[in-house]
Amino acid sequence: MTLSPQLEAKFNKLLESYPPGRQRSAMIPMLLYGQDEIGSVTDDLIEEVAGRIGVTALQVNEVLSYYSMLHRKPMGKYHIQVCTNISCLLHDGDKLYEHACKKLGIGHKEATADGQFSLEEVECMGACSWAPAIQVNYDFHHFVTPEQLDRLLDGLKKNAV
């Protein structure tokens, strides 16, 4: 597959980051950065990564299916991740998640029909002192109220249009 110049450069840098013969180490970063650009871990990406690090597609599959951030099916342009783990739960993180479900009309690991949004109830994301927290793609949002979430989502929707 053809990679963007940025991703190509990233892959090449990753492959140089590990001791000789240990290029397999680049697998997880390659899959994650690849997913960031492509939208999901596609069959092509698996083949590409497997080829570059000298492993089989099965070995890539074993690894990618283990890590919760790697997705085989495309998520939305904005992937909304709501933490409901204990510290966020104590600040109604579960209600915030339910609110997001209703607002977007989708459930866990689902994407809206227009591909703009997807939703995931996630485990602790390391924002416990600023709960409840969400991540939109890689951006953290802290002390999120349902109203703030609405504003955030509406703003993103406008962006998309």
Partner: protein, 684 residues
């Protein structure tokens, strides 16, 4: 060897070699520590947690499969704490297990059943919904039922470490982890079925065997696989004269538990719809089914008449028939038919090797040597495909003892992944310095080394100054036995010169012989027209040769008769009849009947396998093997021939079929399994 370590297990003082794992030390002393994931010879997992034991001075229970013995260690395997741990480990295991034992192939020989019976809790407190996923078919021979899987990873390891294939992996995580095949929804692999056999539960089941029988209804017969020359023991599970399964779980043969697709599933040709059930006689130009009496009579009459007319006989023997059959056949040819026109399809230059090694001792490697010796030189052959057991042994040797492997082959081979040096071509001589530095060596070569090549190779080996053993690779289950038994125009049994070499294989095929007798061979397979005045064929199927015969006598398969065969490493093993067959007869019996009909039986002696084998032991050099070893299902290596073999070397006659994993000469065509797996279309 280092001093043994002294430890105490369950109050008994035990001595074990340093480095021994507690679980093995216990087992060696008759103390069972249960385990699923621990499997001798495969990497450690510590995943099933069944082998937890108490070790004094360690606060937590320890896995006996990962802790090596230590001086003064005190281990307890039967305390209430250990019993409780086992009990509840099984409770955990059964939470998501479907408990569909009544319809599970494994029922009755399931390790989970046995462990639950012995160590388990009688009832489950699990009342939640079980994780369920539908059964999947990975290949025609491999089915996977994830809910039954206990994730012991034996299948993954045997495929990776044992076979070097890496076709199975683990996907997902947590309670939904499951075993996955290498091509998304299906397997592309050796289709050897090792994963199925090694599965302690009914998660991996065999497409050939599933839902055929309850295990306890079968009779188990250990015999030798009839396909390649490696000589694997395959234990046939039979019921009502049907073979339902092949495996070797009791590790009783030279192959331990190893079998390839041919040994595990390739027995199925016996049941092929085209299998000949009655003799055929050419009447008015067409082959018609006749009675055995009619057919034998026709052959005997024609043979006697040809003898009386001073006609010439040609006899072509087989790579698959037993030593007894080959011995009897050559005796028949030479003493009754008075001909030296006898040959078989030679697949490796054993004769030159034995001649070149004349006068030397301890030069022939065994299958066991492949696991024990320190270095190997593989010449020509793609071992993993053509000699899967030999490849498996070397691979295990590499993993367990870090054996050094040198590969000189025309193309890439599986051994490249763990070889010390891999060269393409034939320039093994360039490895001289490296090989000289080894402490010992086993050389394996295929038919691309013959005649003077073999002599040069032996010269090279003997010049290294280290002990070197050799294996001349041959193709089929009794290729080696055929030449040992003198099914060759220039050789009598035991490599004695025949004095007056007759026609060889190709010459007989193309000569205007009075009569040609073909036993278990297919010389006309490439569209050649028969030239002989009279053609008798003994075979299981109506091969191209049989189609042109005057009389076709239906032969029993190796699984339907007794006898012995000799594998590529010169080890004699016993064929044991697994099932009876209707219509067909063992070749030895057919030959005996022909002799009787001809009035020549007395000269040839009795035609029971045991009686003929006694003759072989008395008359064939190298075959004075200990009977008890054979009778108990063991392998006995034939002694090398001491003395030159003063015959003209005919390297031009040596030609291997290079059967891969999914081919087995003419016979392979009739195995449904070999032809059903997709790999058989991808590569042969």
């Amino acid at each position: 060897m280092a001093d043994p370590v002294k430890l105490t297990i369950d109050g008994r003082e035990i001595h074990a070699a340093p480095g021994t794992l507690v679980i093995d030390a216990a087992k060696q002393n008759g103390i069972e520590v249960p385990a699923f994931c621990y499997y001798e010879g495969l990497t450690l997992q510590a995943a099933c947690r069944m082998c937890l034991v108490e070790i004094e001075k360690t606060p937590k229970l320890q896995t006996a499969c990962t802790v090596p013995v230590a001086e003064g260690m005190v281990v307890r395997t039967e305390t209430p704490q250990v019993a409780t741990a086992r009990k509840y480990m099984l409770e955990f295991l059964l939470t998501n297990h479907p408990l569909d034992c009544p319809v599970c192939d494994k029922g009755g020989e399931c390790e989970l059943q046995d462990m639950t019976f012995r160590y388990g809790v009688g009832e489950s407190r699990f009342t939640e919904e079980k994780v369920h996923t539908p059964e999947k078919q990975f290949s025609p021979v491999v089915f996977f039922d994830a809910p039954r899987c206990i994730l012991c990873y034996r299948c993954v390891r045997v495929c990776d470490e044992g076979l070097g294939v890496k076709a199975l992996g683990v996907i997902n995580r947590g309670v939904v982890s499951e075993i996955a095949p290498n091509h998304g929804d299906h397997l592309e692999c050796d289709e050897c079925g090792a994963c199925i056999d090694i599965c302690p539960v009914g998660a991996l089941t065999s497409g050939a065997y599933r839902y055929q029988t309850r295990p306890w209804e079968m009779t188990h017969v250990g015999t030798i696989c009839t396909h390649c020359a490696d000589g694997c023991k395959t234990t046939l599970g039979t019921r009502n004269d049907r073979i339902l399964r092949g495996n070797n779980r009791d590790r009783s043969g030279v192959n331990g538990e190893f079998l390839c697709i041919k040994g595990r599933y390739g027995f199925d040709f016996y049941d092929h719809p085209e299998r000949l059930q009655a003799p055929l006689l050419r009447v008015n130009g067409k082959l018609e089914e006749v009675s055995w009496a009619q057919a034998l009579n026709a052959v005997a009459q024609k043979f006697n008449q040809t003898l009386a007319d001073g006609g010439t006989f040609g006899v072509i023997g087989s790579n698959h028939t037993s030593n007894e059959e080959n011995f009897y056949l050559q005796k028949f040819a030479r003493e009754v038919l008075r001909t030296n026109h006898i040959d078989h399809h030679r697949t490796g230059d054993v004769v030159t090797l034995l001649d070149a090694l004349s006068g030397k001792e301890g030069k022939l490697a065994t299958v066991a040597d492949l696991y024990e010796r320190k270095a190997f030189l593989v010449l020509g052959a793609d071992l993993a495909l053509e000699h899967p057991l030999l490849s498996y042994q070397i691979r295990a040797n590499y993993r367990h003892h870090q054996a050094h492997i040198y590969v000189v082959t025309p193309g890439a081979v599986r051994e490249d992944h763990y070889s010390t040096v891999s060269l393409r071509g034939r320039d093994y001589a360039s490895l001289r310095d490296k090989l000289k530095a080894e402490s010992e060596l086993v050389v394996l070569f295929d038919d691309s080394y013959k005649g003077d090549d073999v002599r040069k190779l032996v010269e090279f080996g003997e010049s290294l100054g280290i002990p070197v053993k050799y294996i001349a690779l041959v193709d089929y289950s009794n290729s080696r036995g055929a030449v040992d038994m003198g099914v060759a125009p220039e050789l009598l049994p035991g490599y004695k010169p025949s004095g007056q070499p007759g026609m060889h294989y190709g010459e007989m095929r193309d000569a205007n012989l009075g009569a040609l007798w073909v036993v278990g061979a297919n010389p006309l397979k490439n569209g050649a027209q028969r030239k002989a005045g009279f053609l008798v064929v003994q075979d299981m199927f109506l091969t191209e040769t049989a189609q042109q015969a005057d009389v076709v006598l239906p032969a029993a398969s190796a699984y339907e008769k007794n006898g012995t065969v000799t594998n590529a490493t010169g080890e004699v093993q016993r064929l044991k009849r697994g099932i009876n067959t209707m219509g067909a007869k063992p070749d030895l019996e057919i030959m005996g009947f022909i002799a009787r009909e001809m009035g020549a039986a007395a000269a040839l002696g009795p035609w029971t396998p045991d009686a003929v084998f006694e003759q072989i032991r008395k008359n064939v050099r190298g075959y004075q093997v200990p009977l008890p070893v054979l009778m108990t299902g063991g392998a006995a290596q034939t002694m090398p021939v001491n003395g030159r073999i003063p015959v003209e070397s005919r390297p031009d006659l040596v030609h291997s079929d290079h059967n891969g994993l999914f081919a087995s000469g003419t016979l392979g065509r009739y195995s449904k399994v070999l032809n059903s797996v997709m790999e058989s279309r991808l590569r042969r």
